[in-house]
């Protein structure tokens, strides 16, 4: 493509906002009125930047000016691509803007171009003391560098303050407060240049993040965790000499005026568990304002940032998953803003890491501007192979880059259960191991005396347990008998009562039969010698109790049969009852005693 073939008439109005609220960037807004004088149909426009500016160019956007009637938000940006032209000197970089419609000969078209430059303001002098004010220098050309012939051009420079140290005076210069106007100039040949410089006061914060790493971690349990590691420097004039806290506290506006002491991060609405810390711990100077539409975090570095001072910190917050993740079956995509939530920040290198859950596949990242990207893995809690990480890197990032980017991936919902299952099985294994250990016999020597004694003792305990069981069943039988007596007094059914006694008698006999082999085998153990007398006593007492209960039962039944009065029966039974109570107590005590061994 050769430019010289076109004779293009361009009308320029350049409005330059030299560092508005920005720290370092220069915004250039150009309204271009493009007229095609023929003879060819034109479909693209070339934008040219000198090397000095091209190096600092962070963001470039062109939009059609025709959408005047539409609201401001709906500006459609036109596709821009960098082009290499062989015929022109390498000191100029070209970008070509594809026009939405072809401009025929004689037609005209108006184009808005927005270019943002970083590091274009140079502090002069480079070192200042706390008392000095910060002055910066900006260089540009009064003529807009253009490969085309320019019909009319004018330039407006807006400076942050009306305190201007010096500026290049040309014949057609007008100054209105902080605004300087050059032009209009007419009929300029292509590539005309005429340098101008501005030297002016600027105490705006020059916050530059030399590196910002944003880590966005997705958890399908409902959270997107964003962690941002900032490495910040004050990019203005470097401070020299004393820093007096006394002066800074007493007169902050003229002692250390160029210092900035806080930054504001505009977090998405519903951000939660926000933290602000650095390498050595939490930083307590931050304020969080929450309303329904946004969350505003004001962070104050540990110390005021004077020129050239550095700091580093981390902010982190959680976001609700459903606000940022869109899914259909297994296909999901994350839609988040790319840049930092701090809108007054210029970022030299921005690295965005999107940590996807373990087991994601088919990962694809898409951003509205060219970026470098690659993949890593990160090992976090309960990971086996690590989580896939998409890393996006971009240099020279300005707030205009705060646009949405997308990461598409596939993730099955069942994989979510992996980690809980792992934890559950881990605990299960632990308990199983404990059970296994408790039941395993870990003694080395199976024939040592102490081991044998221990084993014998265990056998004895099993036997005693059996004895206790039998006794307890006997006691339960006694209770049954008592209950039948009570029934008798209520219903007067003598036959049922007798039957109960008969069956109880039989069972008790069976139980005593059961007891015999137990006692004899207990006698065989030497280690049971101590406890044996007690057991025997217990058995004897129980038998006595049994007899007494039987006796009581038969007496009571007899009394009933003879139709004697309740009082009479009570009287007869009373003595027996006393004995039974005493015996029961003794049996209980003995059981308790044996239990305690």
């Amino acid at each position: 493509m050769a430019i010289s073939r076109y004779v293009l008439l361009v009308v320029f109005t350049i409005a330059m906002l030299a560092s508005t609220a920005m720290s370092d960037p220069i915004l250039t807004k150009v309204d271009r009125h493009v007229e095609n004088p023929g003879p060819l149909i034109m479909s693209e426009v070339l934008l040219a930047f000198p090397e000095l500016q091209a190096k600092n160019l962070a963001y470039l956007m062109a939009s059609s000016h025709e959408t005047k009637g539409k609201p401001k938000g709906s500006v459609v940006s036109l596709p821009i691509k960098a082009v290499n032209l062989d015929e022109r000197p390498s000191a100029v970089t070209f970008y070509s803007v594809l026009l939405p419609k072809e401009v025929a000969a004689g037609e005209s078209f108006t184009l808005d171009v927005l270019a943002v430059f970083t590091h274009a303001l140079r502090p002069v002098p480079e070192h200042i003391t706390q008392v000095d004010i910060q002055l910066v220098l900006y260089r540009d050309s009064v003529y807009y560098l253009s490969p085309y012939e320019v019909k009319v051009q004018s330039l407006t420079v807006k400076l942050p303050d009306s305190k201007i140290e010096s500026y290049t005076k040309l014949e057609s210069t007008k100054v209105h407060g902080s605004e300087i106007k050059y032009g209009p100039y007419e009929n300029l040949p292509p590539f005309s240049l005429s340098p101008i410089t501005f030297h002016f006061e600027s105490n705006l914060p020059f916050a530059v993040a030399q590196e910002l790493v944003r880590e966005i971690e997705i958890s399908h349990w409902g959270n997107v965790q964003v962690t941002e590691h900032y490495k910040l420097i004050h990019g203005g004039a470097k401070s020299k000499g004393e820093f007096s806290r006394r002066d800074f506290q007493a007169r902050p506006n003229d002692r250390g005026a160029s210092a900035f002491s806080f930054l504001v991060a505009h977090l998405p609405a519903r951000a939660r568990s926000v933290y602000y810390r650095d390498l050595i711990g939490n930083i307590s100077t931050s304020h969080l304002r929450v309303d329904s539409r946004k969350t505003e975090l004001m962070v104050e570095p540990r110390y005021p940032m004077l020129g050239g001072w550095r700091t580093a910190f981390t902010i982190g917050y959680g976001l609700p998953l459903q606000d940022f993740l869109y899914e259909s079956e297994e296909n999901r995509f994350l839609n988040m803003t790319f840049g930092s939530p701090m809108i007054e920040l210029v970022i030299d290198t921005l690295i965005v890491k999107v940590v996807l859950p373990e087991g994601s596949s088919g990962i694809l990242a898409a951003a509205p501007f060219p970026i470098k990207q690659w993949q890593e893995t990160k090992i976090s809690h309960l990971d086996i192979g690590g989580r896939p990480v998409v890393v996006l890197e971009k240099t020279n990032v300005v707030p205009e880059h705060n646009q949405y980017f997308q990461v598409y991936y596939k993730f099955s919902g069942l994989s979510m259960l992996r980690e809980p299952l792992m934890l559950i099985s881990g605990f299960l294994l632990f308990f199983a191991a404990c059970i296994g250990y408790m039941h395993a016999d870990t003694s080395i020597s199976k024939s040592s005396a102490s081991y044998l004694a221990k084993q014998q003792w265990e056998e004895v305990q099993v036997l005693i347990q059996k004895v206790q069981n039998v006794i307890n069943r006997c006691l339960a039988m006694h209770d049954n008998l008592e209950a039948s007596l009570r029934d008798l007094s209520r219903t007067g059914d003598v036959q049922a009562c007798k039957a109960a006694r008969k069956s109880a008698d039989g069972l008790l006999k069976e139980l005593s039969k059961e007891m015999k082999p137990l006692l004899t085998s207990l006698q065989a153990y030497s280690s049971a010698a101590q406890i044996l007398p007690k057991v025997e006593e217990l058995v004897a007492k129980e038998r006595e109790l049994q007899e007494k209960v039987m006796l009581k039962h038969s007496t009571a039944v007899e009394g009933y049969e003879r139709k004697s009065g309740a009082r009479d029966i009570d009287h007869r039974v009373a003595l027996l009852q006393q004995k039974i109570t005493a015996l029961k107590q003794e049996v209980d005590d003995l059981l308790q005693f044996i239990d305690d061994i």
Partner: protein, 721 residues
């Protein structure tokens, strides 16, 4: 309705009915679990109040070394020569620290990472002390069980879990050697007592390893290596020598000594230093005893044996004395160190080693702090001693000796309350457990009688049984109940006191200061970290920072800059040089600072906030320590009639020394309090005496927002043409 619902439940309970023993086991295990958790969470106040951070001074060094260990591996750590401290001397870190704590934390970190818990090493370090405190409660339980019974063990576990004396050094974030060392100390003692009780080689081997862990963790191991021989000696004297003791002590001593030599910082001290000689002496004495026993066994004639005994004992003592004397004279055995002397004699440090005396935690203990740290244990301790003497055994003799000796040391130095705490808790636990047990036995015997009477007996038997009981024990039941309630009241008071102390006094990280604002809100002074982080970010990486040694560890750990002196006070002369610079006039000081390559000077100043532990209040110690090495500095020069002042009446040398100038530079213009003249020092409550301070060779580089830390830059020398 309720009865119907209850029926199946009671049936179910019956079918699952646990034996008394099982019930007891269940209760015991659940109590222990609860105590374990309690010991951990009661130490988390600091994390909740502030954040998960490392506290105080020494823990920062430990944290830094742990970080190094996890990043560079064990061998690099072992061979680490640290250029960042003690400039220009440097410090051989691997050979001058007790690595137990760092290795433990790094191991926990590795294990967690192996199990895929991606925690930060800082969290591990912060929670190491509470974790070991929890383990200590378990050891206390087993120890109590060994010396008394399970009840005493349980009570001991509960008491030690919340005892402020221990909590003071083991809150979350207090990442110091003591955190694991108290666990190791108690564990070693427990294993040794177990070994003595059983005579088992396995237990005494275990105690040797426990001792090894203790040696690797803390310099306080000297207490073990002197207490155990002393205990053995007492047993020998009281005629309790046994084969069990012989096995336990010999195995523990020989193996423990060999293992301890593997720690570079300890090296051959076990055979070369005077502090360890008692153990060796007792070891040889033990052999003599064994030999005599054997001879006695062989000789049937008692007269002959008496003569033999006399000769052998004389010879043994003579040989021992000569060996010791020769060792001392030839310099093979080093004499006792100053630290050891200062432990035995509270006044020693004040006269001879100002650097030890200057540390507040090395001061003799005030009564109030005993009360503060032990509360009711102070009264229970003698009661426990009474019970111990009543049931004298090898184990109780041990705990009595441990209690008494450590109580003495606790009286000498505030920080040694920590060592006494386990003993006090154990002995008090014996008192509580024995008392409560006696009372409940009384109550239970009676209850049973009443129960049988009321439920089963007829009216006559009920009356008779009641009469019987009343007859035998008049008012005993009521008395027992009253006493029980009293005991529970005391114990609950103890629990509330401990919680209060933990939350109010021991949970402050001391690096972040908190105060109550005018409206009752909490104001945080985070000036230390502000300054350290400024140093880290805004000074050249090889800058050398001069400050008083207290802040050395923090500057290297948080500021990542080289310091001249730090909390490892191994070189008194170097510290004295810094003290001298601080107490000289500026033009004299600049010579010293240039010779030390100092780039920045850091001072801590509390005049604006009223923070009293600042450098002006520590200044006399700098003068003393500096004057101890350089006689040019004389303490009286800084005093007026023996009084230390900073106002107009202060000594001229004081008003013009470097420390004064650096602290009060431009402070004279400052209004600190309403209704007071400018330059009113709130920490000392006076108006300063020198308001017009000019600095010639230094310039203010940074002052924190509350003026607590002030950093000055040493200006380069002026151009001479």
């Amino acid at each position: 309705m309720a009865a119907v619902a209850n029926m199946p439940v009671s049936d179910l309970l019956k079918s699952f009915k646990l034996k008394t023993k099982q019930q007891e086991l269940l209760i015991r295990v659940s109590i222990l679990c609860l105590v374990y958790i309690l010991a951990f969470i009661t130490r988390l106040f600091s994390v909740l109040r502030y954040e998960s951070m490392i506290h105080e001074f020494d823990p920062y060094f430990n944290y830094r070394t742990t970080l190094y260990l996890t990043q560079n591996g064990f061998y690099d750590f072992w061979n680490w020569f640290d250029y960042e401290s003690w400039y220009p001397l440097g410090r051989i870190v691997g050979g001058t620290l007790y690595p137990g704590l760092m290795v433990t934390a790094a191991l926990i970190y590795r294990i967690l990472h192996f199990l895929r818990f991606a925690v930060h090493i800082r969290e591990v370090c912060v929670l190491t002390a509470p974790f070991f405190a929890s383990n200590t409660t378990l050891v206390a339980y087993f120890f109590g069980k060994e010396i008394w019974d399970t009840g005493a063990g349980l009570v001991a576990a509960i008491l030690i879990a919340v005892c402020p004396g221990y909590i003071s050094r083991s809150v979350a974030g207090s990442y110091d050697n003591e955190g694991v060392a108290i666990f190791a100390l108690l564990f070693t003692f427990y294993l040794f007592v177990k070994a003595v009780n059983t005579g088992s080689l396995a237990w005494s081997l275990a105690s040797a390893f426990g001792y090894f862990y203790m040696v690797s963790a803390w310099g306080g191991y000297v207490f073990i290596i002197n207490l155990i021989p002393l205990y053995v000696l007492v047993l020998l004297i009281t005629g309790r020598y046994s084969m069990r003791l012989y096995v336990a002590y010999n195995c523990m001593y020989v193996l423990g000594m060999l293992l301890a030599m593997q720690i570079r910082f300890v090296g051959f001290q076990h055979v070369q230093s005077g502090e360890h000689m008692a153990a060796m002496g007792v070891f040889f004495l033990m052999q003599v005893f064994y030999f005599l026993d054997w001879v006695k066994h062989m000789l049937s004639d008692t007269k002959l044996f008496q003569a033999f005994l006399r000769i052998t004992v004389t010879c043994a003592v003579a040989v021992g004395t000569i060996a010791l004397g020769l060792g001392m004279l030839s310099g093979y055995i080093s004499p006792w160190t100053g630290r050891f002397y200062s432990l035995l004699d509270p006044t020693y440090a004040k006269d001879h080693i100002p650097i030890i005396a200057s540390v507040s935690e090395h001061q003799p203990t005030a009564w109030s702090s005993f009360m503060f740290d032990f509360h009711i244990l102070l009264f229970l301790f003698p009661a426990g001693l009474y019970f111990c003497f009543k049931r004298l055994s090898d184990a109780t003799i041990f705990i009595v000796m441990y209690g008494l000796t450590s109580m003495y040391f606790a009286g000498v130095m505030v920080r040694l309350i920590l060592v006494a705490t386990p003993a006090v808790c154990l002995i008090s636990a014996i008192a509580v457990s024995a008392t409560v047990k006696n009372l409940t036995v009384l109550l239970r015997s009676k209850n049973k009688g009443v129960q049988t009477g009321s439920t089963k007996g007829s009216s006559s038997s009920k009356a008779s049984s009641k009469a019987l009981l009343d007859q035998s024990q008049p008012f005993q039941k009521n008395g027992a109940i009253a006493l029980l309630f009293g005991a529970f009241y005391l114990l609950s008071k103890y629990a509330t006191h401990c919680t209060w102390v933990t939350s109010e006094a021991y949970s402050s990280p001391s690096i972040v200061l908190a105060a109550r604002g005018a409206h009752g809100s909490r104001v945080i002074f985070d000036d230390y970290r502000e300054a350290y982080f400024w140093l880290r970010q805004n000074t050249p990486p090889d800058a050398k920072v001069m400050s008083w040694w207290d802040y050395g560890y923090q500057i290297t750990a948080m500021g990542n800059r080289t310091v001249i002196v730090d909390n490892n006070t191994w070189n008194n002369t170097h510290i004295a040089t810094v003290g001298r610079a601080m107490s000289s006039y500026e033009d004299e000081a600049i010579e010293i600072m240039r010779s030390l390559d100092v780039d920045y000077v850091l001072v801590v100043f509390g005049g604006v906030t009223g923070y009293s532990s600042d450098d002006i209040n520590k200044f006399l110690w700098m003068v003393r320590i500096g004057g101890g090495v350089f006689p040019v500095i004389k303490e009286p020069d800084y005093l007026v009639n023996g009084e230390y002042r900073v106002d107009k009446g202060a000594a001229p040398k004081m008003l013009n020394c470097l420390m004064y100038k650096l602290c009060y530079y431009r402070f004279g213009e400052m209004l600190t309090e309403y209704g007071k003249p400018p330059g009113y020092d709130r920490a000392r409550g006076v108006e300063i005496g020198n308001k017009d301070i000019k600095l010639e060779h230094l310039e203010e580089a940074f002052t924190t927002s509350n003026w607590i830390v002030r950093i000055y830059k040493v200006k380069p020398p002026n151009n001479r043409w």
